[in-house]
């Protein structure tokens, strides 16, 4: 591989003073600063947490939840499609024989490591049973220790959907 | 459970047939018929006995017998009516007979495929015996005469 030598541009006085360059760089900042000072209500940020966001829609990817069927049993059949699709490999499932007569199989454990999750939503797309959703509307995750970020089956089932349509569309 | 033994007459018949067929296996259907004629159905014990006589696994008898519609695995005490449902009979109103027979609870009714009486349809077989050119009245008379069945 050859090396191409490029001549540095000659510096003029104007260049070495940097004033025009500084102005160019700060132009937008200064413009917005003056705008915001003059009209404080049009700032798009909110005073969280005193103020809560109002623009979270059903398509917002919040914390996962496991859905239930019309007969109040778990929808998940432990097919592992979510775990397969998961790019960060943060879904841990152990399957077991289902004994309530609804289906053949269900998860014995179903754990999502929220610290590893990238909230991509692939698991929701992969699910053939509409058993996992991210429509909880929850966007904050707070816990005191690492273990608390492992959401198990019971916890995931207890999270309610924020947009109605509680029952899974599983067949 | 008591055992099942083939009658001397049947055993003689089996011996005779063994000479006719190139292999024992061929006696499967004749033996199944013997059991069914004797008991009215194919009992598990009888099938086990049959498997001993022909030296073949019992599975063979179950599999073969279940293929043919005429073999029964359960005994029925009722009069067994097989009503033909095939086209010639249907064209000659076998449905009417079916609606009538459905209302009778003293018979075991099965709708079967063509019994080869298209020229004298509609028809049914009662306990295996053919009754042809039927109408409801005629059928009623036949079923009424329990001794003749």
């Amino acid at each position: 591989m050859g090396i191409k030598t490029v001549q540095r541009p000659q510096k003029s006085l104007k260049h070495s003073l940097y004033i025009s360059a500084l102005y160019g760089g700060l132009k937008t900042t200064i413009k917005k600063f003056t705008q915001n000072i003059s009209d404080i209500d049009s700032i798009p940020t909110i005073n969280y947490p005193e103020q809560q966001p109002s623009d979270i829609t059903s398509r917002y990817r919040g914390v996962h939840r496991l859905t239930k069927r019309a007969d109040d049993t778990i929808s998940c059949v432990a097919c592992f499609m979510c775990a397969t699709a998961c790019p960060s490999k943060c879904i841990f499932i152990e399957a077991t024989q289902r004994t309530d007569g609804v289906d053949e199989k269900m998860p014995r454990t179903f754990t999502i490591d929220m610290l590893e999750c990238v909230f991509c939503g692939y698991c929701v797309e992969a699910c053939p049973c509409d058993a996992i959703r991210m429509d909880s509307g929850i966007f904050t995750l707070i816990a005191k220790q690492r273990e608390d970020f492992l959401y198990d089956k019971e916890k995931l089932l207890s999270i309610k959907g924020a947009f109605g349509n509680e029952v899974s569309n599983a067949k | 459970m008591s055992g099942y033994t083939f009658s001397a007459e049947n055993l003689k018949e089996i011996d005779k047939l063994l000479k006719r067929y190139p292999s024992k296996e061929a006696l499967t259907l004749p033996i199944l018929w013997m059991v069914q004629n004797d008991l009215g159905y194919l009992s598990n014990i009888a099938l086990r006995e049959a498997s001993k006589i022909l030296d073949m696994p019992t599975s063979h008898f179950y599999s073969v017998a279940s293929f043919y519609t005429m073999f029964k695995f359960k005994k029925s005490e009722k009069v067994f009516v097989e009503l033909c449902k095939s086209l010639s009979c249907e064209l000659n109103n076998s449905d009417e007979l079916y609606e009538y027979l459905k209302t009778r609870d003293d018979i075991e009714l099965v709708r079967v495929e063509c019994l080869g009486s298209c020229g004298s349809s509609p028809m049914c077989a009662i306990n295996g015996k053919y009754h042809e050119n039927l109408n409801i009245k005629k059928l009623d008379t036949i079923l009424g005469d329990k001794d003749a069945l």
Partner: protein, 493 residues
Amino acid sequence: MVTIYVNNKPIICKDKELLIKVLKENDIFIPHFCYHESLGADGNCRMCLVEIEGSKRPQIACDTFVYDGLRVHTKSESILETNKDILELELLSHPVDCPTCDQAGECSLQNYYMEYGLYDSRVSVAKNKKDKALDLGSNIMLDQERCVLCMRCVRFCSDITKTDELVVMGRGNDSYITTTPFMRLSNPYAMNVIDLCPVGALTSKDFRFKQRVWFLDSTQSICHACSKNCSIFIDHNAQKNQNDHVHRFRPRVNTMVNGHFICDEGRLSYKKANETRKNDFIMKSRISTYESILKHTKKLLQSENAIALVSASLSVEQMLLVKELSEMYLFDVYYDYKEDEKFGDDFLKSSIKESNLYTAKLLDFKLVDKPYEESLISKSLILNFNSEFISKPRPIEMIEFLTHEGKFERSSSIFTYEYFHNDMGLLINSDGVISSYKKSSKVKSEKFTLLKILNDLLDESYTNESIYEKYKELFFKNIPYSKIMKQSQRLGL
């Protein structure tokens, strides 16, 4: 030899060979359910229809015999259409419960569905209902709705094991597979029907819901349950943050040894691979380090009067190194083996339970009997290479090389080494066939291999290959190592 043309490409094959066999051997995609190499054709599934030039209708490849100049098309438009239509019929009453089906991922129906791109169902009639989740015995679960009635399992029980437990009952669309009334599947090879079943109708109760197959890695290996040395696949995986776990053994086709099958006992012997020793190195009942126990052993070997006992299940290479060690420190090597007449049969089960007895004899190791007991009196050190036959030693020094929990841990020093599922090597079976088992490249070894430990004791650096090459002329009829790695070779008795 004749030449046939498949999709206009010439293929050279034996005359009068079955067309489907030729296609499969040449890796030409041919969908099929009922045909299986070990069972032959039944002609019932009609999936393998191909177009043959000169014949009016499509023909099934499993009932077509090749002849010179035969011209076959497997990809013509009409054949693709036909295959697609027949697949649609196979799926007509299928419950499509792939999410709960263990076969998903290795299911012919799924594979063919993907191949023929049949995307939307046209079925608007009620499906035919049959029984699900029936326990047939011998760890086998049956789902009649998923069955495509290819009869492989029925033919296996009637033709191979001749036990006739499985039958097809009923007729037409209501046909179903079941066990003969009052019978359960109970032959020692029953679980092979799970592999034979091309769909999820027959699944393993042992493996049921344990793991999805696409997470598994398969390693080519050899079953160590008896001296038949059946070729197997070890299906294992390591879940995130967890150790590697073996989930099942599956038979691997090897016409020289086991054909297409393995026995149930061998299949279930995978459990032993998950029960290996936890503590790696123990010296005088305390957890120790490799280096210190190595030093300790070397010292003892130099000073004490030693004797060695090997398990006849060690691999060829491991035994060769033991032999080297014995020549270096001048001790005798003994072996013992267990014979179980009840276990053996004339198919795939050998009554000798040790998998490499042949090599122990070949290397002139001595059989444990009276002289062994007598010579023990004058010895002060026993080396035990994973043998279960060690009798309670007098309070003398004993150094053990173990894969599993041993009997005398409190009185000895222990090297723990990798069990065969994480190691590689060669074995010679009771018929004198030498085969190789391999190591998965995906598993990180946690333990040392016995070869590494022996190398360190010898201050050598043999590899599996180099130690074999050193002795191949002497013991192994000069068969090149690479040839064995590829395929089993017959040494002869």
